[in-house]
Symmetry: D3
Subunit: 265 residues, 6 copies
């Protein structure tokens, strides 16, 4: 991976030149430190959102900021629950504050567009609120030149891709935790951090139509995964990654009117 898109690696003067020469776009990956079963690392959500951000940034000429590496509390119906060891989470106010501060800080520097690339289901609304409060603080409303986008990468998976990745039918996004999608992507993007020999097959979790707190721990499968990762493969990961990156690049380029770099004719 060409690291030059990462703000962490740039010196301030190089960065300022870029700010001065074009409408700068900063992508902020958001993940979690969360159990993902016996076969995936705790950092899966952060790793994947960072990978998507890096791939998109390279084609858009955007920057990638340091990820938000801790996410909102894992919920039992989408991540197994926050009671599981290894899952290390922030409360809502912290995540709101983080997003609010970063938006304000980047836009104040002259960044034109900030894009949050989310990889942890539970984060979404808190990021949204942080963005909205930042714009209120800065009095940025409709018609402004600046914008902030928020998306979860799985919202860009098409039906066609889903049909190929889940030939027996897609179980639903909420229980895609440690399942075929995340595992395939990791096999494609970061195979040393996947332990396929530790994968445990089994039926998908059946969870109630409500959230209950405190959780009843026995409702989460022993693996911590909500659906089986059996059937995952690096080639499915490549398919998912390629299609999602293509769509992200297309949508962001259109929305932000930024030039695409490195896109073959």
């Amino acid at each position: 991976m060409d690291r030059s898109v990462f703000l962490e690696d740039l010196d301030a003067f190089t960065y300022r030149q870029a700010l001065a020469s074009r409408d700068a776009v900063v992508l902020i990956p958001v993940g979690s430190l969360e159990q993902h079963g016996p076969h995936l690392p705790l950092g899966t959500d952060t790793i994947l959102s960072t990978e998507f951000a890096a791939a998109v940034a390279q084609r858009l000429g955007a920057f990638v900021a340091q990820p938000i590496s801790y996410g909102y509390k894992s919920q039992q119906k989408s991540g197994g629950g926050n009671h599981l060891s290894g899952t290390t989470s922030l409360d809502g106010a912290s995540l709101i504050a983080m997003a609010r501060n970063l938006v304000k800080s980047f836009l104040s520097q002259g960044v034109r567009h900030v894009v949050f690339i989310n990889g942890h289901f539970e984060n979404y609304q808190f990021l949204y609120e942080g963005i909205d409060l930042a714009l209120e603080d800065m009095r940025i409303g409709p018609g402004a030149e600046e914008s902030v986008l928020l998306l979860s990468y799985w919202d860009f998976v098409t039906q066609e891709t889903l049909a190929q990745v889940y030939p027996d039918g897609f179980p639903g996004w909420e229980i895609e935790h440690g399942g075929v999608l995340e595992t395939s992507l990791m096999l494609h993007l970061d195979p040393p951090r996947v332990a396929m020999d530790r994968l445990v097959d089994g039926p998908a979790a059946i969870l109630p139509r409500f959230d209950r707190l405190p959780v009843m721990p026995e409702r989460t499968p022993a693996t911590g995964c909500l659906s089986s990762a059996a059937g995952s493969s690096a080639s499915k990961g490549a398919l998912l990654h390629g299609q999602v990156v293509d769509d992200l690049v297309a949508d962001l380029a259109a929305e932000l009117a930024c030039e695409r770099a490195g896109v073959p004719a």
Copy 2:
């Protein structure tokens, strides 16, 4: 409607007797004050969540608390956007605080189970956070006798019901704002507050796969509805209401081990 389930109507002594005699369940409807197009009232979400709560409460012997009548900011992809006049919203911290205070206050009084019945898409995660913080404050964890449930009523609509209500295919929950589901329910439950002659037909909104802030107002249809309410009917509303109430009663009774009142053999 038999108003006796509403806490607002009870005196403190009658309420205390009930608390002493059984495992008390309090249902809290949560809605919004939000534009719902030209044919539905601003209070639609609160009206519907209160109706569901009342119907469930009567069959479970539960109480209904005063609704949370203002919701989280309307988002463009699920409610048209918070920039639209008539939409009067709370920020995330306020909604979190509201849920947190109510949970603590009811559980401290001896209520055993609190159930939030949500009717406004954007509220969910903030209610969840409020509940979680309240239980942390009270040191209530797994194994406790108390519990708090959170649900959106549409999560209890079955595939069978959807197929009947949307014979041409279901457009998705996020754009069910001022559409067939809400309109049919209002026609069944509160027809004087629906103005079918003002209903405007048209295609469903096509919104991007990301959220953008500040919003581009032109992306919201002029009606403020995200999908057409054409095809709504009181009979569809009756079907939806009946099925959802039945399922809510069944699930809550099982979960809370509370006796069902008034259920015919």
Copy 3:
């Protein structure tokens, strides 16, 4: 009651027409869910503030927003104390946030004047703070066209009315909790929700000149009322209601320079 003053009942387009055609005034009732003795319902404060708001709105051509149905913690010297079951309260920060959000949301929509009609003694300062912070957020200072008013309805009871309602002398506002004023108003406005046969007579509570926390529960009379409601009547309620509404209408019309609707010549 003509419900057309309630925002809950209006559709967004009708509401927007009104905003465009005149200086719109929105009244926000504020109450509580609080024990009011054995003869009055828990919702008494919300019911009464809503009734006053509705009556005033009809004569001023104003709107009535959804009430703030939960109030600040009941204090022993003015409401018996927050330890009493049935009393379900918000902390100060929540109530401040609620008022702040609503003021900002209504003024941003183009509402010119917001008026809080308070019916729960303990709320006042927190509402004041919420209003002040909202105006600071919006940079609205002296000389602005917008204004926000805050009042408790009992501050509009005249000495003449008091003399008629309390022929033996007025015991003071702080201990008017579940007493003659609230009971008479409820008998006039909402008799089905009053149980006069459950009323318990007795001397007024004698409370210290300081607040003590934690409370000594034995200082609150067993009824939860701080003064006796004996002597209440619907006719006293009619007198109170009529005089207060007249004075509210007169003062608000003068202050807000809004036209009075439906006032006989």
Copy 4:
């Protein structure tokens, strides 16, 4: 004044001996930095509450903590308004936090009773909230040995005293801002800080029955006082001071079961 009651003057070892030998009581004066007309200093509220605390402490064997010298925003109906130069105020959250922190800090050290002696009308509810939150944090509820009291010193002025101080009738507490009560007390307790030659006589302010924000500055008299201080005297101040201190000592001694020191037989 014997300064030995002030914590500021004590060394930690002397203080700890006192904590170990008796049920320690700490009095916390609360005031403001607020305009009080042309004849009284900005520190009037802090000076007076500190004087009352010191006098009470000497007779009860209590300690006096550093005052809270800044108060909640001056309101037009009770202090002339927060827009007036010289008035330097805290928002509600700050004052709540201050009270909450001090209660927790003192009770954690082994102090048994904390008493807030308030001298600024607008502070009361925020202090109450801070106390309540501190006790919730510490899980101190009814039946605990610790207690926290809150009072405004003018609530201890008796009808008899009022009749003597205001021979023409008492104008009401809310407009006692820079008036006869405060001026007389200052003349008795701290005459060098009163400039009677600068006193401006005039009618009491006539303020509406509601609060309006933003304020209309012209509603506050040019002096900033809400009632005239004409008729103030050191002897009235001595009467007020003596009676209030006697009553405070009597009530606190009874409530806290602390021994009175230095009370003549």
Copy 5:
């Protein structure tokens, strides 16, 4: 000490005249209520910062506001630790809020420059944050006429002075708690509040290079002082005080371009 520099003593009209006639500077002393060993009073930090502020104000024609008398939690490595009785502290949010409110309040009144004179090591960063947030609230950025300065008085002690005060070598600022500097200053400025006969000599505390929480109480010397005050004298205090005041006056006069009053030619 000429008390006329203290805002507490001024009436609002005199203060406003000063605001109108020159670029007003307000100095805010910040201290703590904190154990300072057996020989110094709990109020040492507040007393000293107030003394420095008063001396500087007299020479600069500035005002001195009421001190912030409670400081951030004492840390074991700089103040012995917050577990010690007598030490009565605020959390970070409270101190941030206090500074933020005071800056906003003074600048809004027309004060041109606010200077915090800090006397308690642990306060610094929280004051800084409060100042920064206030300026963000008020949209005051580089180039503005207003400014806020923050300093700890010991940062103005020169190497020459240190060499005279600590002939055997300076032990470092962090452990100057209850040591020679503070004791000498108190002996010079406020001798009745120092009990030299209670002074305990001994070696300086040896504390780890990290902070540990919860503290290990045995790491703090029994006296609560981190270095010995043996060798303190009023003459050292006079030297320290004179040099620091001279330097403060010189630096502030240059920075704020305010006229120095009373400086001999």
Copy 6:
């Protein structure tokens, strides 16, 4: 670098085994995204604190959590100021919240000791506050088995090392921003991210003894560095790194009574 110490890379089951088998220690690096002149990358503080944490963890058998990659606002006297592009910062409340959440989350999982390794001067007090609040939340006080340590790595540089690294005298920690220490460490640990050819030599910044806000931008040298990095070398970096890691390992091992792994006899 053996990545196995990083939680990001571990699966939840491996991590849980470790928690069960020994007193687990988690190190949390804390840095910033901050301009560091033309020759060092924006991520310098995070890179260095992570490197120290990794080296220490390998020898102590500890884990390294995801870094806190954004720090408190850069201050002009220690980091050049927060107005400089590239510097992307959090406010105090956000950083406090982050530390508080992480401490609570890790200790709740059964981690015994948490150690924050700080690499950005301005962070320290906010991290301290977050830790203190977390322990208060969890009621962990003196005598508990758990502990949280906080340190900045440069506090472990000895006088001997300083003398070697700065043969002409050490300029002080506050202006070590982009200077010899950070540059030498980067040259040793991560040379590809250093651009020595871009280094600009010059005198150290001379900054006032107070902080001023808003900043006067011209007081920061054009490079953004507060002292020159001329004289930096990889060998100095190796010396600094080796000595600091040795001392950190020794001190933490002693304090936490954890076994050292991989230390040659």
